[in-house]
């Protein structure tokens, strides 16, 4: 590696590099982890903050969005939550105090890293996304997070909550890396929420390893006071006959980059990625997916809907890769956006890379305004324009929310959607 790579040149990049230099000796993990962190940092150091010359980040120029890197919080534990809720506060894990369901084990990542097995290290630092500068920086710097282990065959009915919060003192950065291991035939669901009372730059990574015949559903949601800048990485490996579904509900935050690297590594793995983004003001939200089918008979579905008002900008980049032996892959990807204002913009970029010849893969991407014919139809029935527009937008977004299995979460997200529309109308 080049000790003085040319890419590091902005003030923020220098600050991030300095923070690693200061922290590296005290980061948890043995020699193997230390070696991985150093290599990961080299990746970041070589590339610097992602910018528009990096294709995967073309529409989200982080070098521009992150002129200044806030100091990374050292963090401390907080009071444990009463329910089945893990708190990641300033990047530091606090486990719940309640008794856990049978088959579920929770460990703070800082503890898991001390004396981690090779398997755990391998799972926590997968190759997927490792070339991405922000994933690399996360790997280098993450001090904590949570390790969630679901024993083979365990059926966890209660939803595991992962609540990311921040202290309210001064602008800061926080970094965490969490791992979810779902054993063979097990089933669990996780909901991840992100709050931040002050200006926070967050880099969170959530890694899933889903073994054969297991099933995991995941929901990501923003809170009213979300981080100013958030890079959220999701990495998943889905085994034979296993299923993984992830749904994102984005309605807050200033700059959000959600990137998912998902691989179907066992036959008949089922992958479903969906999302609704409600953006206004100067909000910017980027959803970038890399879905890889490595073996035959895999299935993937992606459905993303974006509603943009004001000067908001949205990005959808979805890449489905079908490897040479992944015959009979069944893939379908759709991204639809509605622009409510002339100043809003949406970048839609679906991509298919297919190296097998016997597959069914399709994609569709649309960007449009509200349909005046639909509005007139509702108005001709007595519904005023603003209410008619609201109904159409709500219906558009609800087509995604219908996929949320947990009724409580589905209703909560539905209420947030209605609230967003009501605020728009008022």
């Amino acid at each position: 590696m080049n000790p003085r790579p040319p890419a590091i040149r902005t003030k923020a990049e220098t600050a991030l590099a300095d923070s690693f230099a200061h922290a590296s000796a005290s980061l948890p993990g043995g020699d193997a982890v230390r070696g991985l962190r150093t290599r990961a940092f080299d990746v970041f150091h070589e590339r610097g903050l992602p910018n528009r010359r990096v294709e995967a980040w073309h529409y989200t120029d982080l070098r521009n969005f992150m002129r200044e890197a806030y100091p990374i919080a050292s963090g401390a534990s907080v009071a444990p939550a009463s329910g089945l809720r893990v708190i990641i506060h300033d990047g530091v894990c606090t486990l719940p105090s309640c008794a856990l369901p049978v088959g579920l084990k929770l460990t703070a990542m800082r503890d898991a890293l001390a004396g981690a097995s090779d398997d755990l290290i391998h799972a926590l630092f997968p190759d997927q996304g490792a070339d991405d500068a922000m994933v690399a920086f996360n790997a280098a710097m993450a001090r904590d997070g949570v390790l969630i282990e679901v024993a083979p065959g365990a059926q966890i009915d209660a939803t595991i909550e992962l609540s990311f919060t921040s202290s309210g003192d001064a602008p800061h950065g926080d970094i965490s890396r969490s791992l979810v291991l779902v054993g063979e035939g097990a089933r669990a669901s996780i909901v991840e929420s992100h709050a931040a009372p002050v200006k926070v730059q967050r880099n969170s990574a959530l890694i899933f390893s889903i073994k054969a015949e297991a099933s995991l559903s995941h929901v990501f949601e923003t809170c009213a006071d979300s981080p100013e800048l958030h890079v959220s990485t999701l990495i998943a490996e889905v085994g034979q006959d296993a299923s993984f579904s992830s749904l994102a509900f984005v309605s807050a935050g200033e700059v959000l980059r959600r990137q998912a690297f998902v691989r179907g590594s066992g036959e008949r793995a089922k992958i479903a990625l969906r999302g609704v983004s409600l953006l206004k003001g100067k909000q910017h939200a980027d959803t970038t997916l890399v879905v890889e089918h490595a073996v035959p008979h895999g299935e993937s579905r992606e459905l993303f809907k974006t509603i943009l008002d004001g000067e908001a900008s949205g990005v959808f980049q979805g890449k489905v890769v079908v490897k040479p032996h992944a015959q009979k892959t069944d893939g379908g990807m759709k991204s639809q956006a509605i622009l409510l204002s002339d100043d809003a913009s949406m970048y839609n970029k679906p991509e298919l890379e297919i190296f097998a010849d016997d597959v069914v893969c399709g994609h569709g991407a649309t960007v449009g305004q509200l349909d005046e014919d639909q509005i007139f139809y509702l108005m001709a029935r007595g519904i005023p324009r603003v209410q008619a527009e609201g109904m159409i937008i709500e219906g558009f977004a609800r087509e995604v929310l219908e996929f949320v299995e947990d009724e409580t979460i589905r209703e909560r997200l539905g209420a947030e959607l209605s609230g967003w529309l009501a605020r728009r109308a008022s």
Binding site: D371, E372, D373, Q374, F376, Y377, L378, M379, A380, R381, G382, I383, P384, R385, Q387, A388, M391, I392, E394, G395, F396, A397, R398, E399
Partner: protein, 249 residues
Amino acid sequence: MLTITDLHANIDGKEILKGLSLTVKPGEVAAIMGPNGSGKSTLSYVVAGRDGYEVTEGSIVLNGEDILAMDAHERAAKGIFLAFQYPLEIPGVTTMTFLKAAMNAQRKQRGEEELTTPDFIKRVRAAADKLGVSQEMLRRALNVGFSGGEKKRMEVLQMVLLEPKIAILDETDSGLDIDALRIVAEGVNALRSPDRSFLVITHYQRLLDYIVPDSVHVLSAGRIVKSGDKELAHELEKNGYRDYVADAA
């Protein structure tokens, strides 16, 4: 009931209606027939209040009140109902949600109490049963995946529930087979009453065998060029619109 006087209307700077006058009395079923491009659909949109049409001259008066300045939703609350030629699909909005929103939006504008849920459901059930609209259809997103016949039956269901003073049927027969046409016509006929009028817009005489009009008007090049009774429809069926197209030109 409805009095249209010397109506001129443009869309995108092109004049489509060129001095149309028409009176529909309470309880009357008036049929508007005309060749393609004569302005039939424009007439229905302009009366219902669709944005984008510019009325340059004339008036539309409903029960003594000029409605031209009103938005479409206000006209609906005043009792104008347009049954669409091509009903729109509204993904993600269930038919029940839509029906309730429409009924209550009209009631609210008229200063009436909103319907209670049990009262609403009772009304929908009763009307749906008569029209052969299944509960399953009511639970689905509005018109999404409905057949042509189902969509038209849904239009009639809305008409029954919204109890308009004047209903405009815009080419309601298009895309319907004979059985679906009969069901739709029976639904309309059941609504005929001395204080409700209909404006039946159609290209063919066929629909008028099922919904028998009191008067028939020929629309050509944006004006009513001939009015008569139901015999006029038969005459048009036999001779076509040629005479009237020539007249207008």
